[in-house]
């Protein structure tokens, strides 16, 4: 039995789904032991009920002006103090922009090991994580010190909410000082769009999309599906879209329920980033394109004909 601390994350006022997945991961690690959670920022207490429904027995809340915006200094101090306060045997964070940045820094400060980007947990515990962007996997275990992991969104299923369970809320005062980073501005390029790493459905385009305007055709399908839009390296290198949309060994690794690849040939470096998706659809003019070898369903045809047809069909059944 182990005591496990989950650091929950709030984005745009919403608890991120990966934090509920982290609670599920924590229960696997705890093996009957206690699971507690911490959550930062204004209104932190508002999320305690949900964390309780998902298995946190206790929720530490910390409201501090320095935590409104992520900086490595503020979050490293906050997470370190929370770990010292809760004294867990294991710590779990989401492998998000914040989790992947603060966890290694905290691990170094406390002298811990850290297994990042975990996609599965076996008895032991043994942690499974992708290497070479998912071309292979490794199993890792800890040989010394506390257990510390970040988990990849969309891989360890969140448990169902049990509304009969609730968490004890413990407000904590954190001491945060000597900040060396000032955040001057945040330019929201994703506002109103679905985040790629947590998206359940992704519509992705390659060189076959031919232009920035071509991506609008994909965006229309994505809008009907509530999907995020992604791209191959070829499309990004050709300036059809921003690098932040790139999926592959360089770029993001994604594991949605449904991945619709449009005009993507399927270079190895792209396949590495998306081949763990649950269901893959390929749309390509070239029947010999390697993408068809990993696709569950394929349509051989011009994406500019096929995608609008799909958008219309999905509208019929979804809207």
């Amino acid at each position: 039995m182990k005591k496990v601390l989950v650091l929950a994350e709030v984005r745009d006022g919403q608890l991120r789904n990966v934090s509920l997945e982290a609670l599920a991961a924590a229960q696997l690690i705890a093996d009957g032991g206690e699971v507690v959670a911490g959550v930062f920022g204004a209104n932190a207490a508002a999320h305690a009920a949900t964390l309780g429904h998902h298995g946190a027995a206790m929720v530490y809340t910390a409201e501090h002006e320095a935590l409104a915006q992520y900086t490595p200094d503020a979050y490293t101090q906050a997470v370190t103090q929370l770990i010292e306060l809760a004294a867990p045997d294991a710590v779990v964070l989401g492998h998000t922009a914040i989790g992947r940045d603060v966890a290694p820094r905290v691990a170094a400060r406390l002298g811990y090991g850290l297994v990042s980007d975990v996609t599965g947990i076996e008895a032991g515990p043994v942690f499974i994580r992708p290497i070479y962007a998912g071309k292979a996997f490794q199993k890792r275990k800890f040989v010394d010190g506390k257990l510390f992991v970040t988990i990849r969104p969309n891989n360890i299923a969140a448990g169902a909410a049990d509304e009969s369970k609730s968490a004890t809320v413990v407000p904590v005062d954190l001491e945060i000082k000597d900040l060396r980073t000032i955040v001057k501005e945040v330019v929201r390029k994703t506002s109103g769009k679905v985040d790629l790493s947590e998206a359940k459905v992704i519509v992705s385009g390659g060189r076959g999309v031919k232009s920035a305007e071509g991506f609008q055709t994909l965006q229309e399908l994505a809008d009907v599906l509530g999907a995020a839009v992604g791209a191959s390296r070829g499309a990004c290198d050709a300036d059809y879209c921003d690098y932040s949309l790139q999926i592959g060994q360089t770029g993001k690794v994604v594991t949605p329920d449904l991945y619709i690849a449009c005009g993507i040939s399927g270079a190895i470096q792209h396949l590495a980033g998306m081949s763990s998706s649950k269901v893959i659809v390929a749309i390509n003019k070239d029947p010999e394109a390697p993408i068809f070898q990993i696709a569950d369903y394929g349509i051989v045809g011009d994406l500019f004909e096929v995608v609008p047809l799909l958008t219309a069909e999905f509208k019929k059944v979804l809207v």
């Binding site: 850290l114 980007d117 060396r180 001057k184 790493s197 190895i268 269901v279 069909e313």
Partner: protein, 255 residues
Amino acid sequence: MNILVVLKQTFDTEEKIVIQGGNISEDGVEFIINPYDEYAVEEAIKLKEEHGGEVTVVSVGPDRAESAIRTALAMGADKAVLVDDESLFGDEFTTAKVLAAVAKKVGFDIILGGQMAVDTGAGQGGPRLAEELGINHVSTAVKLEVNGSQVRVERDVEGDLEVVETSLPVLITAQQGLNEPRYPSLPGIMKAKKKPLERLSANDLGLSADEVAAKTEIVDQFLPPTKGAGRILSGDLSAQASELVQLLRNEAKVI
């Protein structure tokens, strides 16, 4: 300006992975500079061109890593350190301790590295190294400006852009989009052969294998299950589109 670049040699991203006896086979594999580290090398050279100073490339890895280091030297870095002492190879905890020892020995105003390596993909190196050295870090930079000791960074945060200010000394990790790495020129390649490359051991760095011993270990490595070939639909395109929607709803149950 004293610029340090931490670099890892990785498999070319077009390589397939073969596992033999639990280990990843390196037979016939093409090696490159980790693509994110290549952006860091380019940015370091640009900083040197703008502000003067010296670029030192540092790597922890086997002897073969020399070829990646020579490429960085050919691009325009000035000198290099390779820690090829196997007693100092371990996990992310280990590597950060070793790189910190090198950084303290060489000295630095700014440290640049990739935001992750495309092989192990952990992304721990930058933040861990900064913490070991007690300096600030800014990750996933897509634009970097240094004025005197002031540093302005535009960083990619899950697709949004964050503008931050900090000061030297600082460690910056490079995201794709930071720059377009140059190709080494022929004279650059010739000169790189004569640029200093120092090989350091645990003894040289005042480290013992015990104090940097890994906190985690790999117990297995395996390939994902191969997917069977899927179904290519047929018929006219509008019938295919309609069939696909039905399959996704009723067979795959993902919509």
